[in-house]
């Protein structure tokens, strides 16, 4: 069974605690940091990890993630190098791992070739925000399915109920719930007026669980978001930790355990 599906199924049976998905940019801050960051996230207690494939024109991302993309590209990061860095990751990594990125580099690599490499290294899902739903359904879904790769879709406060239902129908794993009309890295947190939107989604009885992203940055926002969904996603706030760190492993573990509200000693016990 796909690790993402497995995680959410076990979660609902076991506990009510929110799942934490952390995003980071591959090849950042240094080209060879990818696996180091991934391991530290798992050890710190991240439940899923989303590895960003840096892109020259990331239109859905705010300044923090843009700058990390620029830096990673300057470091020489490519899709080929990323797959090479990840080739033995499943010897140590047990959490579900997704790749997030923009559709053009994936198209240039070749969709089938890309899914095949994902399956080989143990990637469980993809998030490609600029891949249209109809193109996915008509052209790429059979390929994703053949290699057991899930495609994760986004919904926003402006997404119509009809479209949310369409997205739910063709989704597997989880639905990425964008908390507000914004690019990544907005400072809104989880405001009270988002409650209506989250409750509306809850009332729809969708078949897929949801993770809330955009504006999640600490334990407080994580807990609030987790009240309305299966968990939450942190991106820009974590990139800022990486930017300012002199001791990646330690800082990553501390950040993750703080967000989850578990002191490091307990988390590691």
């Amino acid at each position: 069974m796909n690790r993402i599906v497995n995680l959410f199924q076990n979660k609902t049976e076991q506990d009510k605690e929110g799942l934490l998905n952390v995003y980071f940019t591959a090849g950042f801050p240094q080209l060879d940091d990818t696996l180091k960051v991934l391991k530290a996230l798992q050890e710190g207690g991240a439940d899923l990890v989303e590895i960003g494939m840096p892109y020259s024109d990331p239109v859905a991302d705010g300044e923090t993630i843009q700058k990390s993309n620029d830096q990673a590209l300057e470091n020489g990061m490519t899709v080929r190098i990323l797959f090479d860095q990840l080739k033995d990751m499943r010897q140590t990594i047990t959490v579900p791992v997704l790749l997030m990125g923009y559709v053009n580099p994936v198209l240039q690599f070749g969709i089938e070739n890309f899914c095949k490499k994902c399956a080989e290294v143990g990637i469980d899902g993809l998030i490609l925000p600029d891949m249209p739903m109809d193109v996915y359904q008509n052209e790429y879904k059979p390929i994703f399915d053949a290699y057991g790769i899930l495609n994760i879709f986004l919904v926003t406060p402006q997404t119509s109920e009809k479209r949310i239902r369409q997205i739910d129908e063709i989704s597997e794993g989880f639905i990425y719930t964008v908390s507000s009309a914004s690019v990544t890295g907005s400072s809104t947190g989880v405001s009270d007026d988002m409650e209506t939107y989250f409750n509306r989604l809850n009332a729809m009885n969708l078949k897929n669980p949801r993770l809330i992203g955009f504006g999640i940055k600490d334990n407080d926002t994580f807990l609030k978001a987790s009240r309305y969904a299966a968990g939450a996603i942190i991106g820009s706030a974590f990139i800022r930790v990486l930017q300012n760190s002199n001791d990646l492993e330690n800082d990553i573990k501390t950040f993750v355990s703080e967000v989850k509200g578990k002191p490091l000693e307990v988390a590691l016990a």
Partner: protein, 399 residues
Amino acid sequence: MEAVAEKNSFQVNNKGYYGTFGGAFIPEMLYPNVEELRENYLQIIAEPAFQKEYNDLLRDYVGRPTPLYRANRLSEKYQTNIFLKREDLCHTGAHKINNTIGQILLAKRLGKQRVVAETGAGQHGVATATVCALMNIECIVYMGELDIERQAPNVARMKMLGAEVRSATCGSKTLKDATNEAMRHWINNPVDTHYIIGSVVGPHPYPDMVARFQSIISEEMRWQLKEQTGSETPDYVVACVGGGSNAAGAFYHFLDDENVKLVAVEAAGQGVNTGHSAATTALGKPGVLHGSRTILMQTEDGQVTEPYSISAGLDYPGIGPQHAYLYDSGRGTFLSATDEEAVQAAFELTRLEGIIPALESSHALAVLGRLGASLNDTVVVNLSGRGDKDMATYMKYID
């Protein structure tokens, strides 16, 4: 019946594609904005009240119809019949305003209170700031940090017109990054803002909508040619292509006239194979850029590369999806002109006809000797803009 079925085959289909090019490759955050536009644009444009307001403004404010001028000395030099479509005589100095007039009227009907736009050289930014001043709508223009330094006069014009010019500081700090920033602004302000894209690029329906607003160029060409030559159709229509809005307008009403050769001229920069070029069809591959599937310049890894041209208006790493289809299907002929050839052509036109063309339009003029046009042929060159903004560059070539 076959002729009917084939008609409009080079226009966008009901799914937003030109062949395999086009579509709307946008993040979900942009979907409602683009959907709102897609559901409404055709209906709004077709309204008689809209048509009247648009046409009145084009006539009384922009100065249309622009003349179709037979360039006698240029014709003699190239031993053919050359006509210039004088878009350089439009208010603000280029064809760009045909589109911004249309889009500002659309924005008003959609109830938008603010407009955001991207600009490279500043021509589209000025045309947008102009119509926003005219309609009393707030205007924000994103411009690459490097372009702001290079195009100071246009930055000043936009500011005088009341627009806020914001600097795009990420990536290569030029047009493509300004476009990214404008899209991000639209994501962050989905309800009250309209995004006026300046070319036939972006997600459907933008390429089609902008082409429709620019199609007035070829609509006028047809009746003007009829008056002056007795035939509505020329043998060649020549236009420069960056994103491709002036070419899309100049080709629009000739797409289904197979006898009319449509010639698109890209900027070769210092030379197609020098690594300093913007000749997209020569150097690019199919992919996704700014929301549509098209041909773009990119690395093997799918990263968008930074183009180069002496002309800031042609300095774009992609072309509109309709142009990609015209190239792919063979309907369009794609040539390129280097910086040197464009500057030479600008001086030639200036000395022969007393018209100083924009550097962009000079690329179209630069291929006149390569068309193979004969003594009896009619060639229309779309003179998309005037050269005032390029005087600093031209001055370097004056002995």
